[in-house]
């Protein structure tokens, strides 16, 4: 008898809690509704739309799209330009991500210890963040242009952008210049969040600067690293504006990238089916890479505070 009362009262508590949660949920969904609406219409629906379009032949020669199954994807596998873009994207990611992150964390740490000129140094490294990529492309164009460019004064026969082997490296240098400051900002914020006493304690124990960095700073920056990794990863494939000014993806396709190839295929050649297929592949790649990064690392950064 006694047990039963406890049971019912517990049941009613649970029921009330569920009711409360439902009420909260409705409120939450309502508050999220506008953001969800735009998220749905301009991110999720377009992904679905690309998936659908990628199954059709839809280019300048077809009046009405024709269903062709996976042919667009099969064609892409054999498309040398697509493969070259893919390789370039990979190269840019592999080179710029560690370099940007490494440089940024070192610069943030070192500049933090300065007694004077902290602001100046930050200014000097972070300003490229605020220069639009197309504008940066104009400036760097005038640095790389043979003979008249800034580097032309050192050696007029340097033609970095004109050579299929060096062009992509020339662009990578610019991307690192453009990105590092932005990443540095995140690390400055991250460093700020580390308890100073940890360093005091380590100093008393006689730790060297390098030890303090590897034993305290780097581990404490794990949360920042997740943010930063997502940013540099997305940057590695979405920063293509400079191609429009500097190389148009050339020489040949030596500097072409997937996103720029989407633009060329979709808007220059009007091959909507093929461009959709590349879009789908790019989206999938990003989702896979970032989720691996996200689910293997410490998720606390996202779920808790």
């Amino acid at each position: 008898m006694k047990n039963q009362t406890v049971d019912t009262s517990m049941q009613s508590t649970v029921a009330r809690a569920v009711r409360m949660k439902w009420k909260r949920s409705i409120k939450a969904w309502l508050l999220l509704a506008p953001a969800l609406f735009f998220l749905f219409v301009f991110t999720l629906y377009p992904v679905a739309q690309s998936l659908y379009s990628s199954l059709f032949r839809d280019n300048l020669s077809t009046i009405k799209p024709v269903f062709i199954g996976l042919d667009n994807y099969k064609a892409l596998l054999k498309d040398p330009v697509f493969r070259e873009c893919f390789r370039n994207n990979l190269l840019i990611a592999v080179v710029t991500i560690p370099l940007c992150m490494g440089l940024a964390v070192i610069l943030a740490t070192v500049s933090n210890r300065l007694t004077r000129g902290v602001s100046l140094v930050r200014l000097g490294f972070i300003y490229p963040t605020f220069i639009p990529l197309v504008a940066a492309a104009n400036i760097w164009m005038f640095i790389y242009t043979p003979i008249y460019g800034l580097l032309g004064y050192i050696n007029p026969s340097w033609r970095f952008l004109a050579d299929g082997k060096t062009a992509i490296w020339a662009l990578i240098v610019m991307l690192i210049w453009k990105n590092t400051g932005y990443i540095m900002l995140f690390y400055i914020a991250g460093l700020h969040g580390i308890d100073k006493e940890l360093y005091e304690a380590a100093r008393i124990d006689g730790a060297t600067e390098v030890q303090m960095f590897t034993k305290i700073t780097w581990p404490m920056l794990q949360a920042t690293n997740i943010y930063v990794l997502i940013i540099v990863l997305t940057n590695a494939y979405k920063m293509v504006d400079h191609l429009y000014i500097m190389t148009k993806g050339g020489p040949g396709n030596a500097t072409n990238m997937l996103l720029f190839y989407i633009y060329q295929t979709g808007f220059d050649y009007w091959d909507t089916g093929k461009a959709s297929a590349i879009t789908v592949i790019l989206v999938l790649m990003m989702l896979i890479i970032t989720s691996v990064n996200f689910f293997t690392s410490d998720r606390k950064a996202f779920y808790n505070d």
Partner: protein
């Protein structure tokens, strides 16, 4: 101790040397923008700074119109974003509700799929809606920001819950709580995200490139590219540099002036 200070010294020298290298592009741009056109190609040429290049640029292309468009787009996007990220950030920080994990991952997916990648389907959508070559069409895909939501969420989590409870006891409803309690405390989050968002829109290129056909809606970044590319007769470096400086100047100046506040707000926002 002495060894350490020598090492320190070397590190600092390296730091400043690297900083100087990093500054070269902007110095080069400013120098070329102000130099007389006929000596622009001579590295050691010295000339009295001239505004002629700017005059030519402003005569040749409607940069003021471009400024207006970029300003309109940037501010419009930012205002909507502020409202949406506040509501969404609050929900994810404070409310335990059905579907929260699912929706949160959905939001994060937007951070991973940058809007640029979806230019083709989004363009198709816009042309079906009749919104190509409009400024609102350029703005729409950016209204929801996962990153902004995340920043607000993290910041709200650092705010004591008691403040909200106290307001509730005083009879405030949810809207009042958001506006009276949270918005003032989210200032640094807004500033941080504001700078990120503004520089994003200022940078934005590929999307307006496919969206706009006319000067009436063309933003600065695109106007600059058109200007730089329009010389079939060969590049005019001093003009292009002047135009580039015109485009970069507002954000650069804002950053130089508010650098300290900006970096500090970055430190105090939820990002770490």
């Amino acid at each position: 101790m002495r060894k350490k200070s020598v090492a320190n010294y070397i590190v600092n020298v390296l730091l400043f040397a690297l900083m100087f290298i990093c500054m070269i592009p902007v110095i080069w741009m400013i120098r070329t923008a102000f130099i007389r056109q006929d000596v622009a190609l001579d590295l050691f040429a010295v000339s009295v700074p001239t505004l002629d290049n700017f005059k030519r640029v402003l005569d040749a292309a409607p940069f003021f119109k471009y400024y207006g468009n970029t300003l309109f787009i940037t501010v419009g996007v930012l205002l909507v974003q502020f409202v949406l990220i506040t509501m969404a950030g609050y929900v994810f920080a404070r409310i335990d509700f059905y579907g929260s994990n699912f929706l949160f991952v959905l939001f994060l997916s937007q951070m991973m799929i940058a809007p640029e990648v979806l230019i083709l389907p989004n363009y198709t959508l816009m042309s079906r809606l009749g919104l190509t070559d409009t400024r609102i069409g350029i703005m729409l895909p950016f209204f929801t920001s996962a990153m902004g939501t995340l920043i607000v969420r993290q910041t709200i989590k650092t705010i004591p819950y008691e403040l909200e409870e106290a307001a509730r006891v005083d009879g405030a409803n949810l809207l009042q709580i958001l506006v009276m309690v949270y918005v003032p405390l989210l200032r640094s989050a807004y500033l941080t995200f504001g700078m990120i968002s503004v520089s994003y829109q200022w940078n934005n290129f590929l999307w307006p490139l496919v969206m706009t056909d006319s000067v009436a809606n063309r933003p600065l970044s695109l106007g600059l590219a058109m200007f730089a590319m329009s010389y079939e007769t060969g590049a005019q470096w001093s003009d292009v540099s002047a135009a580039t400086l015109l485009v970069c100047a507002p954000l650069l100046i804002a950053f130089v002036l508010f650098q300290r506040q900006f970096v500090e707000s970055f430190m105090h926002s939820g990002i770490k």
